[in-house]
Subunit: 297 residues, 4 copies
């Protein structure tokens, strides 16, 4: 798309706000919408327009980016009473960047097709700091032409775009399974650190060893440090959001008739944490379940 | 220790042989022992001496390195009928580099103390190629003076020495829990790749994505590739050896009164693989259990 | 209710058909409905009336019993386009005997209340033979007056009614958790029999021992025999129906924020079985997953 | 054997003491031994002789019954420095009734064979009250002639003898897997009761329902009541003893190359309980792990 076209952005949460800010730098005609409009104030002050509803945010035949909390919110802004799908209409493009189920992407692609619009699924890896720094990793799937049109938008947001074909749900499978692999590493490190602690081995020394040798990549380096120090607040990514994602993985696995016992184990850790009132701490805090089971707390 | 002192090396398996070769370059007075003496031929041709028994390999008050298959073999060469412990005697040093239980290290440290010898536990991370290239990561624990004496030996074998204090079993806990964390990553990737496959996502594309973005470290890069292609032969590290290590982790966890459900899950994968006759393939091949459960094979 | 009142019965599957037959003996004015009307022929020949839709089956202010396949079917016959809820209306009573989620019961109780009808949840334990023999165990929950009115109906179907209070979903929780406890016994016996077999102990002798001594109740006696002989066809209760029930237990547990690892284990067994094409055998056939993992098949 | 022959009984714990008392009624020449001789006082007052060591308790060619705490204790009284195996000698018979591993039975059968003695493995099901009331269920395996000779002894102790052939370890496999199946039922009921409680269903009503209907056998009737009321003290069977047994099942399963995930789950429950200081409560108390995970305590 052209940088002087209008572009709509819906969802100004902790990820969406910095993403919209980056898009505003490239697309001065940015129109934003958020359920709670106060969140839009800084962007409006920086030059963005504020729409009163999802439908009013989009231009017929235009491009809209969504970054909302979950499947229900995404369906609401797209297909709900004030949803933008009918207005977007013929020639429109929806770039969906939220972490949602592949089923939802498939449904939206179908619904948009009825109106003559196209759909690209483009979820991201990275925390708010990465979003602000245009350092997101973006995975995409959808119609080839739609992806070509989306490219300038996505380039303004991330450090790389990885393509997974034309099936609209594929990028969501990649996103969800990525979060699963990350949280599996957290669980493994948590159990290993507890074993070390119970044997008198220093947690910080072990975490540092991993990051300097066999696991020299940021996820291990950063998370092992948080785990070693049991520093779970403030949350970088809330445990209850991790549970939401793992629930989606369970749904996808069920739908695919694939048993995933490690997913079930993570789910058990997360649900236990929630039952103990720890939904608001960082998701690395699932480690406390291991610590408690071993009598360490 | 001084490089013109005699040094004994016991255990010339796929790891021990290249390690002994590297030591011979630094310690020309190297004496080697292997249960099957034929394995020693290349080293003898390169200048090493061959001993007829563990006891005959060591010098009183000297230094001996062991790199054998398991706890039983280590106890046999050290404390068995022809074991070297009595000969090593006062002032001796045993550098134990095998992957064994912390209990065995504690036992050996005690037994050596009775003879006036010291003990350093120094297991390694790395495959035979890394051993040959002096690229092993070494973790150590034991008496401070003993570690100082061992340093020239360990420097000749690896790219870094990480210290975990004076408790002789600590380094073994670090080694075993490291293998556990690695195999956990394999299980997580295996389940995620199966989910991707069942959703029509290309396995190789997903594996490549991980290695290029969120998991940019060799363990993920190498193992995800093997997993994506289901290339489990020839084995880099045999599944049955992985099972041996996971059994040791279970023993350590039991002894520490620490439930480790992820260890139990890996054990179930490994034992299933063994029951199906797959003990000789690479340990990444635990993924086949997931594939079969999902009807992919 | 009075035995010469009209009574509607919806759902003539393997359980519903013998139940309707028993009701016809007591309530000669029985009106039946089934999606596939051919299933009603024997009942019509015996004197029942056949309705063309759920709505046409019921009398305003009357009583209707439902026994259908799942939550979706129950919502359809009750609240769908031809659903009976509006017709049933003021003073009506819905006795819901299907195995469904407590959430569905709570929803239906609310919807019926809007029309002035009452709702009793009354799922059953027992196979088709028990249904035919009026030997079902019935668990109930709901409004006290509604349960009093339902009593003659339930007495005509089972050998005992167990009450779990006024909350409409309670009886469903009891039913679902009952199926979970039963299937847990199957899994335990399956693992134990495999261990016995691998140690040369006769499967049939072990099964007989349990039934004659420590587990002298029909579930163990009957299921252990099927397991010992691996006689999974014809199915008494299809594995895919067991999976449906275990899915419901997972939903209820998630909703209650209660981790239930044994439920997850059973789900993994069932889903594996389904992926291998065994959804149509008896649910005791989850044992084959254990047998295969141990290399026994 | 003849009732006026001498008979030795070793191990006067909570099970052994009432068993010895019953044997004394039939075999007046009973000689007893216990590590702590004070436990023997009531039996000596009732007419039994007290031996100073296992070896002194037995007659050459005689019969000895053992009922001790674990594998180590059994090996000690049989093969230790004061063990009875050499004295028992040619024509002797050892009836081993402790809960031990099949491996230990196989070892003892071999060792006794070297001295010309025979060995019968005959572990029991039942608590101390059942032992006192001669209501034990006895499972046996071993040499046919040896079992014939043992019969009068076993008949004096239990309400039934179930035979599992000539392999000495078979009866131990049956005993251990029986305890596993029982504890699986406890875990299942514990999870189901927690689900009920979280949904407002009365725990006692649910437990009573099971015992009166689908699970009308003493294990469910008794254990469900303890679980419903969370009455875990005083212990009928200590949790730490249950852990010992489940460890043995894990060993047997490992040796048989059979993955048993439900055993691993029970082990995790038991080990967690131990880490929390609950080794001394009744083994039904594993339920507290579920309750805590769900935030119920």
């Amino acid at each position: 798309m052209n940088t002087n076209e209008s572009l709509a952005f819906i969802g100004l949460g902790s990820m969406g706000a910095p993403m919209a800010r980056n898009l505003l730098g490239v697309f001065p005609q940015l129109v934003v919408y958020n359920r709670n409009p106060e969140r839009a104030t800084p962007l409006v002050q920086a030059g963005a327009s504020l729409a009163a509803s999802p439908a009013q945010a989009v231009q017929p035949g235009g491009v809209v980016v969504t970054m909302v909390a979950n499947d229900a919110a995404l369906k609401e802004v797209t297909l709900g009473a004030q949803g933008f799908a009918p207005t977007l209409g013929a020639g429109g493009l929806h770039i969906s960047m939220s972490t949602v189920s592949p089923e939802t992407s498939r449904l939206l692609a179908q619904e948009h097709a009825r109106h003559g619009s196209l759909f690209v699924s483009a979820p991201v890896f990275g925390r708010p700091e990465a979003a602000a720094a245009k350092k997101l990793w973006i995975v995409q799937s959808g119609d080839a032409g739609a992806k070509a049109r989306a490219e300038p938008v996505l380039r303004a947001l991330g450090q790389g775009i990885h393509d997974f074909g034309e099936e609209p749900g594929a990028a969501n499978v990649v996103k969800l399974s990525g979060n699963f692999v990350i949280l599996s590493a957290v669980e493994a490190m948590g159990e290993a650190l507890a074993l070390a602690e119970k044997n008198g081995v220093d947690r910080n020394a072990l975490a540092a060893f991993w990051g300097e040798t066999i696991f020299g990549c940021p996820i291990y380096q950063n998370y092992s440090k948080l785990l070693a120090q049991r520093q779970y607040e403030p949350a970088g990514f809330k445990l209850e959001l991790g549970l939401k994602d793992v629930r989606l993985v369970r749904e996808v696995a069920e739908h695919a008739t694939l048993p995933m016992p490690l997913v079930d184990l993570l789910h058990e850790r997360l649900l236990t944490s929630l039952a103990k009132g720890r939904g608001g701490i960082d998701w690395t805090g699932i480690e406390l379940v291991t610590a408690e089971a071993g009598g360490l707390r």
